[in-house]
Amino acid sequence: MKTVSALLANYEETAAIILFVIGLSMLLFHGNLIKKLIGMNIMDTGSFLFLASMGYIEGRKAPILVDGVQSAEAYINPVPAGLVLTGIVVSVSVTAVMLSLSIRLYRRYHTLNVDEFYLLSRHQLEDR
C-alpha cells in the first residue's frame, strides 16, 4: 500500500518510466522496423517527461525576473527544459537517419521485417 501511494504521489515519474519500458520493449522485440522506431521515440519521450516533470515546481513562475523578485524560491528550474530541447533535437535526427536507412532497406528487400531481411540477404550473391 505504501509503495502504491508513493507511486501515485510521483505519478509523472511513474508514467515516464512506464513509457520508457513500453518503448524499450517495442525497440527490442518488435520485428517491424518502423515500429521499432516508434518504440525508440516513445522511449525517449519517457526520458523527456521525466526531465520535464522534474523541472516544474507547482506554484512557481517561469524564471524571468518580474518586479525585481530575485529569490530562487519564486521560479522553476529552467535547466531540464533546456535538456529536453536538446534531447528532442537529438531524437529527431536519429529518427531521420533511421527512416532513411529503412527506405534503403525497403527498396532492396521489399519488406520492413527485420527477420525477413536476414533470410533474404542469405540468398544474395554479393554478400560474401
Partner: protein, 520 residues
Amino acid sequence: MGFIRNFPLFTIIFSLFSSVLCMMLTGRRAQRYTVCYECFLIALTGAVLWYVCKTGEAFTYVMGEFPAPWGNEIRAGVLEAMLALVFLIILLCSVLGGWRFLLIDVEHSKINLYFTLINLLTAALMSLVWTNDIFTGYVFLEILTLTSCGILIVREIGRTTLAAVRYMVLNLLGSGLFLLGVVLLYSLTGHLLMLPMRAAVSEIVAAPGGAVTVTFSLAILTIGLGIKSGLFPFHFWMPDTYGTATPTSAAILSALVSKAYIFLLFKIYWRVIGIEVFETLPIRRILFGLGILGMVFGSVSAIRADSIHKMVAFSSAAQIGYIYMGLGMGGPLGYVTAIFQILAHAVTKSLLFLTTPRLARVSGDSLLFQNLQGSGLRDKSAGIFFTLCAFSMVGIPVFAGFSAKLFFAVAAVETGDLGILFPTMLALAVSSVLNALYFIRTVIRIYTAGRGGADIYAPRIYAAEHNDDDTPDSFPETETLSGRLSYWIPALALTGMNLFLGLFSWVALDFIRRGLAMFA
C-alpha cells in the same frame, strides 16, 4: 603559453568546421585536406599534452565564463591529452591506410561526404575525451553513433545496410538507457558537471538507502555504454558490423568508437561517482565477471568463425573483455592497465582491419579462410604486418599485447584478493591459449603455399583499379608505388606504436599513472 588552454576546444570546433568544408571539396581534395587537418590536430593535442606535463596539473576550460556548478566545461589532463593524441594518430593512419579500398567501396561522387562524416566523428571523439559535462557527453555520444552508422553504410551492399540497422537499433537502445541513467543521476544530484555531481553522490551514498538509487542509475548507464562498446553478452553485433564495413570504417569503429564509449564510462566511474564509492558498489564485480566471460566466449566464437573478418571482430569482443576485467578488478594497477589495454588494442586492431582486406584482395576478394591460403606469400607486406599483429594479440613478448597481459596478471596479484587473482590468472591463461589457437592457425594458413582463392575472378576490384569497363582475364598481380606507400606508412607507424607500447611500456604506464593522479 596560456593560449594552449584553448586547444582542446579548437580540436572540437575546427572539426565541426572541417566537416562543413569537406562537403564543398571534391573527393581527392577532401581526403588531402582531412589528412593535413588531422596532422594539425595531432600537433594541437601534442601541445596540450606537453603543456599539462610541464605544469603538472590538469586545467579546466570554462565555456562562456559561467563558473561551476553552472556552465559547461572542458577538462584536459595528461590522460585525456594522451588518449586524444593516440586516437588522432590512429584515425590518421586508418584514413591513409584504407584510402585505396575507399575508392572501390564508395561511389566517387560521395567520397567528400565520407570525409565530412570522418571530421564530424573526430569532433565527437574529441568531445567525449575532453568533456567535463555529462549531458554534453550524451549529445556527442549520439553524434558519434550517427557518424559511425554513416561511415558504415557508405559501402552500398545489402549486408552493410542490414548490419547498420542492427548496429543502430542496439546503439539506440544503449543511448536510450544512457539518457535515462543521466536523467536519473541529474534528478538525484541536481548537477550536470562532473565534480559537483561527485560531491552530491558521495553525500547521497552516505545517507541510508542512497547507495541503492545510485547503483540503479549507474547500472543503467553501464548497460547502455556496455551495449554500445560490445561488452559480453552484447557483442554479437560486432562481426556483421566490422566485417561488412570498408576497411577505414572498420578500423575506426573497432579501434576508436568503442574505446571512446569505454573511456566515457571510465570517466563517469572516476569523476561522477568517485572511485572510492565505485569500489564499494556490486557493479564492479559484475563487470569483472562479464569481462572474463567476454574474453573466453569472444575467443571461442573467433575459433568457430569461417572468415577472417569475423575472427578479427570476435577477437575485438575478447579484447574488450580484458578492458572491462581491468575496470572490475580495481586496485591502482587494474585501472592503469585497463587504459593501457585501450591503447594496445586500438593500435593493433586498427592495423589488423587495414591488413585483412589486402590479404583478401589477393585471394579473389574473399575473406573465407580456405580462399586465404597462401595470401601472405602473394602480398608479402600484408602478410608480415598481419603476423606482427597476430603476435601482439596472442601476447608474444616485445609486443603491446604481452605487456597488457603481464600487467593484468601483476594487477591481480596486487589486489591481494584470491577471488580476483584465480579467475584472472585462469582467464588470462585460457584466453592466451585460445588467441594463439586462432591467430597462429591463420598465420600458418596464409603462409601455406597454395592458390587459395587467388584464381577467383574479382571484377569489382579490377575495374576500380584500372578505371575501365573492359572485362579483364586475370587478377592484377602488381600494385603502384603510391598504393603501396599509402599502406606501408600507416602500417609502419602503427607497428612502431605497438612495439613502443611493448618495449617501453613503463613510459606509457608512467603517463597513465600521472594522468589518473590528476584525473580524480
